[in-house]
Amino acid sequence: MSLLEIKNLYARAEEQEILKGVDLTVEPGQVHAIMGPNGSGKSTLARVLAGDAVYEVTDGQALYKGQDLLDMDPEVRAREGLFLAFQYPVEIPGVSNVYFLKAALNAIRKHREEPEMDAMEFLAYVREKMKLVKMEESLLQRPVNDGFSGGEKKRNEIFHMATLDPVLAVLDETDSGLDIDALKIVADGVNSLRDDKRSFVVITHYQRLLNFIVPDVVHVMVDGRIARTGGKELALELEERGYSWLEQKVATGAAAPVEA
């Protein structure tokens, strides 16, 4: 069974149609990359998958482990193993990063009928995960993302991901704006979590990331749709040629029914 199966997905926000028939299938253990121009709907797709109520799904479906994903509350999706690393992680002053994660992990474990971790267990567990993303201890004690630099926020997302141990992780531009060291940390974090059951959907603008996280499949999203799917060489082609040749194709394709 596919881990994720999106069929003909349409979604809108504030009267604006954003996703216009997305099809995407992710098998267990695969890494998919989604590229595409600004405003093409990549983040929207990620947020719809995570359950952001800002977006209204108007057509299509998404099956996750064979279940109707769109029918689940966002927290249930998370507890079922879906993780979204936000393009813009949210600052939450007043809520400590580490205690918040403990509450989140325990909510997930409870859902999985695993025993909750006590403070000691959790601390030992979390220390391991911190090493993975080279997080400084001080970022643990601070409020969630509060006053973090851009790079620290991205790394914190990967740290959350590693801690919460997802089955499907969607990374929305987690590489954007990172220097090469931070980028490697993020990529190492992802690579160390790769196995034959866990899958990733990596949204990025830059083929550079895909040198470090080598994808199985590359998609290009244009105007709310997957315009092209290929292997990792597609990313290289995009790097060279840009997106305009694909955008034109979509434009003529979209125009066709109107002309008919």
Binding site: D52, E75, V95, Y99
Partner: protein, 444 residues
């Protein structure tokens, strides 16, 4: 006509005063003060909503209620008091306005420090008490200050002599024990921090029993040069309580007063907080947090007066409103001519958790000096949907996410509280009050 209404409402107070005046404590000055205050109350009566200062707070339910104006102390034992008595504090307890020495605990009080009943202090000829009571809280324009000044039966005197640092906080527990006829009491608190002294005081207002009552305290703090006063007020009375309080601060040169006013109880709550920065180099930090639900109303009327140059005042108030609760924050900053280099900052933030909750925030800056820094800001908002989604996307349930963010909103006030007992009390309250509080407890 409204004038008849006013005098109707006022009459029982005048009668009670005539009956009680012989037994009310105080020497010549205090007695004269009482008489003047009663007379003034007779002239102005209860305020109505046509008056600017009472525009959003209708006290007619108070004016209409027939209170027992000299309720007895009742009898309480240590078990009743347990929830309110903090460890490691000097404790004084007032029940329905009467001092309850058997519930108080002043063991180990350093010699020279006065922490005692105000009536007893006056009775024993305390010069400080006789000189200072009522010198700072002006009654002429405030009917409830007038009532308190006329009718107070007892209260507390805290005086820390020059250079002394009081080792433990003073915990003042003001209890109301309503039941049967509504009752009213008027506690009076006088705190004197002499030169270069330091003290911490916690005022707690709480209820045992059910029924209407009015607690109407006036607290005066006199901070002499270079003194440091850390003040807390925890208003946690029952939802049948009226609470109308005035907190008057007088600061001399280089003194530092900070106050945290926490309010979650009461039906109708009004707090007037007035600070006069009379000497150079003063610092006043006046913070507050209120949580209201149902039909509760809480009104903070702040007035900070910069009289001398080089003084700083900072106000941070946060409110969390649910149900059809209402809040009023009126923040006046008055900078006198000559109070140059004033640095005054006022912030009020309200979080509305329901559609029917309502808040009125009204900053008023009156500045008569030209080299000053005065800022104010007020916000009213709801929980941030993006933040809720972010938390939920990590597996936290919706209710818990909302509660977490609500807690987080309050957290910067909670974190400023330096008395662990008070801080813990507030945290525990929040964990109880917020849905899924056990998750919040884990996550903060």
């Amino acid at each position: 006509m409204s004038t008849t209404l006013v005098s109707d409402a006022v009459e029982p107070y005048a009668i009670a005063f005539e009956k009680l005046r012989g037994e009310l404590p105080g020497g010549d000055r205090v007695t004269e003060l009482r008489r003047g205050a009663m007379q003034r109350f007779g002239e102005i009566g209860f305020p109505d909503v046509r008056q600017e200062e009472w525009r959003f707070t209708d006290v007619s339910p108070i004016a209409r209620t027939e209170f027992d104006l000299s309720p007895s102390a009742g009898s309480l034992d240590a078990a009743d008091l347990a929830p309110y008595s903090y460890r490691d504090c000097y404790r004084l307890v007032l029940v329905n306005g009467h001092l309850a020495p058997e519930l108080s605990d002043l063991a180990g009080l350093p010699s020279g420090v006065e922490v005692r009943g105000l009536a007893a202090a006056l009775g024993a000829g305390s010069e400080a008490a006789e000189a200072e009571v009522g010198r700072h809280a002006a009654y002429a324009e405030h009917p409830f200050v007038a009532l308190n000044t006329a009718l107070w039966r007892d209260g507390v005197l805290v005086r820390v002599p020059r250079g002394v640092v009081l080792d433990k906080p003073v915990n003042l527990v003001v209890l109301g024990t309503p039941g049967g006829q509504p009752l009213a009491f008027f506690p009076r608190v006088l705190v004197i921090a002499e030169e270069s002294s330091q003290l911490t005081i916690v005022e707690q207002y709480a209820t045992l029993g059910e029924g209407r009552y009015l607690s109407c305290p006036v607290t005066e703090i006199v901070a002499h040069p270079n003194s440091v006063v850390d003040h807390y007020k925890l208003q946690r009375e029952s939802s049948s309580a009226f609470h109308v309080a005035t907190f008057q601060i007088h600061q001399e040169r280089d003194s530092n007063v900070s106050s945290h006013s926490i309010s979650w109880g009461g039906d109708l709550v009004r707090n007037d907080v007035n600070a006069i920065l009379a000497g150079e180099g003063c610092e006043a930090n006046l913070n507050g947090l209120y949580l209201v639900e149902g039909d509760q109303l809480v009104d903070y009327h702040m007035r900070v007066e910069h009289v001398a140059p080089h003084c700083d005042s900072h106000e941070l108030f946060k409110g969390i409103l649910e149900g059809s609760a209402r809040s009023v924050f009126n923040g006046r900053i008055y900078v006198h001519p000559g109070a140059q280099k004033t640095d005054a900052k006022q912030t009020s933030r309200n979080l509305l958790l329901s559609r029917d909750a309502l808040c009125n925030a009204n900053p008023q800056l009156e500045i008569f000096a030209d080299d000053v820094k005065c800022t104010h800001g007020s916000t009213v908002g709801q929980l941030d949907d993006t933040a809720i989604f972010y938390l939920r996307s990590r597996g936290i349930g919706e209710e818990a996410a909302r509660s977490l963010l609500t807690y987080a909103f309050a957290a910067d006030i909670v974190e400023r509280i330096r008395v662990p007992q008070v801080r813990q009390e507030l945290e525990e309250f929040l964990f109880r009050r917020l849905p899924k509080g056990d998750i919040v407890r884990q996550a903060v």
